[in-house]
Point group: C2
Chain length 500, copies 2
């Protein structure tokens, strides 16, 4: 069989695999946004069935042969084709290493785990969660034995969520970051400026929606190729080339969490809309990693959205939607509202400074758990001790402590660090963007955001999976990923806002 | 292999087939209700791919062997199981008879046909449509040679949409119907009462939606197992057990077309929600035919919804949503508004009397086309002549004449008669319901609609595909289907409204 013909055959199989995943995506979007409650059981069955078909397709003998055949003469392929072969090889290996029987057991325990976790959190009872969590940790350990990929067991988990991620890579990043964050936090906490009065008015959902749609469009989100809906947890999903969807939620008492959720999800959505359509349904046309994805959402949400320049442009639009909003509040004050820093219990509600302390805490705990230095039953004790030491806060109940996140109940150990990677990458990318573009602050202030998006398109979106995450960041910024740019950004930003 | 085990294996395969179709249904709902425009190409590809998988599954060697194996000892199976084997045998035979190559050719010509038709209708140019229509007729003729099932070529097409339907079955029904309809129409047209002043107010979409949701709920539609949305053409679809969706559209100038669309689609939806969940994803738990489905929608829309009793109950709810609506209009007048009869050009806008004349006209034309008595190019001439003779109207342009319906552009010849069957079945069912329940008129007037739904559940919905359409109607009503009950219903209704 000629080279081109085997590549075509390979791509056909890859597209079948991706198509099944795209259908899963569409059904999952519908499940979270549209589906009536009584459709849940049938939908779960259908999604499980599709998972089976996807696994069947990626692990088939045919797929294995097609990959091996192409690998024999990799040099005949161009870079795009090579990316597809190597990425599918990686997925194929990972998928074939996991026995179908294990996946089934894991999936079932996940479902059970999420159910038990929800109850345990509601009842504020870690002991209720401990047995299934122990099972999930055991299953993750079993997964490690199948995938084995890295120096330590925890490395294998990290790599599963972010290709190439290791403890060795994270340690220096996180060490520098932790020290820097605590310094900044201490400086901020010494000022009094972080206490702001509550706004005493309501922000109708329809006006919030109109305002957020405007901002999302201004960012460059193409609503002919996407839509925005409501769900209990904001998320974004790409269903197909030309069909990327984001969601948000509304709180009539304050408009900021919705706005920044929309900017965050639009950032994700812009990445998806910027992937090259010509490579749709293949790795070359797919986002490279969770960490890089998070960099796109965070850059728009924080580096662009939580600035005085942003509010100089957007405050008039905001006032138009909310005519009762006090006219005395100026862009600097809006920016202060959007950047209130304070140690708090809940990760998803945390500010830019403390957020990453939440993540590093989870990272340290997970590392100990999988490298054999910590037992599941000791989790609440260790959590609370670390929290007291790092945040100066006494955790009063497990539901706002060790039980707050869903991730472990799904057996997703090693996922959290990708959030912080996203924050670091965002700051590093933004720093380079500022060097390469003329006056970014001025562009933000004038609503001239297209050049910012173009820069991201060229340096990140269009690359798909051509490079692994750290190489991609290095190519875009000229430097290996580090915590430096993020800490510099936080220092400059907060010293200005809080005057230290 | 034991009987039970082979039946289980068979059902597994059947469920896979149904599951793929259910996924197609979900994607198709999304396509019509949610999908952003630029998602269209990818969605079409995915739907075509799923069609291929469904065809593969139903025509597989495995499926054929499982069916044959069970057929050897049919008497070992209970009625539900027999229904599943026989119905899947029918689908298997039909699907295997059609070559994959033919299906592909047909599907492509359909897509092209719909595109050309839309343009031709817009440009009011039958000649633009004639070549592709000729192709579609040829393809339908080719389909007839594969399926061959019935005395005449047209019989094969009829049976494709309504199992067991033949020209011999329709001829006496339609002959009696046509004569009766023309008589009633003449009587109505002699009165002056059918001319009503236009309402000079607007009906906001949100109030129409609230009113229609109330009516749909009152009919018994379970919104925990369904939802209502907006689309350019109202439709209903069952996505899974516990997930049935209906759509409507809004016209701010008049609320009636939306209301009756919702009642119509709710009628379809109630049939789907009433199918036995225990037989989900198998023929036993599936609606039997288009004609029976239409009987459910029409019964709620017309026999129940277009009555004075209905308005006695609903007018206060209506007035609550539309406080500006003239208080002087009473239920009898509302009913007159809802029952205006007049010959007109467009089928989908036609009243209960003239609607079926539109259908019989199409039936006569299709019959001639496929039994070799009419050429595609003569269609406009024949259409206009018949229209003048039957409706007394001069067709001014093909877009309101022979080009008005989408069906032929999709190669759907033999589909139209199922609409009229639905109307006849609805009247026959309602007649029996009135005999068997105490005072149906009073129930309607008091909003006590549960017993009506229960009767339909018991006599139609729960039966799934246990009986073929005409047997099902006979079992429910004690009589073979005829035009009598429908004509009687029209005569009684319109003589009262129009006083003849």
């Amino acid at each position: 069989m000629g080279r081109n013909m085997s590549y075509e055959k390979f791509i056909d199989e890859v597209k079948t695999y991706s198509r099944i995943q795209a259908i899963q995506g569409q059904l999952s979007w519908d499940q979270q946004v549209m589906m009536p409650p009584n459709g849940a059981n049938a939908r779960a069955d259908t999604l499980a069935w599709l998972s089976g078909r996807a696994h069947e397709t990626i692990t088939s003998k045919k797929m294995g042969e097609l990959i091996s055949d192409l690998e024999k003469n990799l040099s005949d392929l161009d870079d795009d084709q090579k990316t597809n072969v190597l990425e599918i090889r990686r997925t194929f290996d990972k998928s074939t290493k996991l026995p179908a029987e294990f996946i089934e057991r894991f999936t079932k325990t996940q479902s059970k785990g999420m159910g038990v976790w929800a109850k345990a959190r509601k009842n504020d009872d870690f002991n209720m969660f401990a047995p299934i969590l122990t099972e999930l940790v055991e299953l993750a350990r079993e997964k490690i034995t199948y995938l084995e990929n890295g120096n330590t067991p925890y490395d294998t988990l990290l790599d599963d969520y972010e290709v190439g991620l290791t403890v060795d890579y994270l340690e220096p990043l996180f060490a520098e970051l932790k020290t820097g964050l605590i310094e900044i936090l201490n400086k901020i906490m010494k000022t009094k400026k972080h206490q702001l009065a509550k706004l005493d008015m309501t922000f109708p959902v329809s006006n919030q929606e109109a305002f957020c749609l405007k901002i999302s469009e201004q960012m460059g989100f193409d609503f002919n190729s996407g839509r925005m809906d409501t769900s209990s947890h904001p998320f974004s999903i790409s269903i197909a080339a030309g069909d990327t969807r984001i969601t948000t939620r509304y709180d009539e008492n304050e408009p900021f969490s919705c706005l920044y959720a929309v900017m965050h999800e639009t950032g994700h959505g812009l990445y998806e809309q910027g992937l090259p359509d010509e490579f749709a349904l293949t790795p070359r046309g797919t986002a490279i990693s969770l960490g890089v994805h998070e960099s796109q959402s965070r850059l728009w949400e924080n580096q662009i959205g939580r600035t005085e320049e942003f509010w100089k442009y957007c405050l008039p639009l905001f006032q138009k939607e909310f005519p009762e909003f006090p006219k005395s509040i100026d862009p600097a004050q809006m920016n202060l509202i959007a950047n209130q820093v304070e140690p708090s219990f809940i990760r998803v509600e945390a500010d830019e400074v403390t957020y990453n302390l939440h993540i590093i805490l989870r990272y340290e705990i997970e590392k100990k758990l999988f490298n054999g230095e910590l037992d599941v039953n000791d989790l609440p004790k260790v959590w609370n001790e670390m929290f007291k030491e790092w945040f100066g806060l006494d955790v009063k109940d497990d539901s706002t402590g060790v039980l707050q996140d869903i991730h472990w109940s799904m057996g997703a150990f090693g996922y959290f660090p990708t959030y912080t990677l996203g924050n670091l990458y965002a700051a590093q990318l933004f720093e380079t963007m500022k060097e390469e573009l003329d006056d970014v602050n001025n562009m933000i202030e004038e609503g001239n955001w297209n050049p910012l998006l173009d820069w991201l398109r060229k340096n990140i979106h269009e690359k798909g999976r051509l490079y692994n995450p750290s190489d991609l960041i290095k190519k875009a910024t000229g430097k290996i990923p580090s915590s430096g740019p993020f800490l510099k950004y936080l220092n400059e930003k907060y010293s200005k806002i809080y005057g230290f």
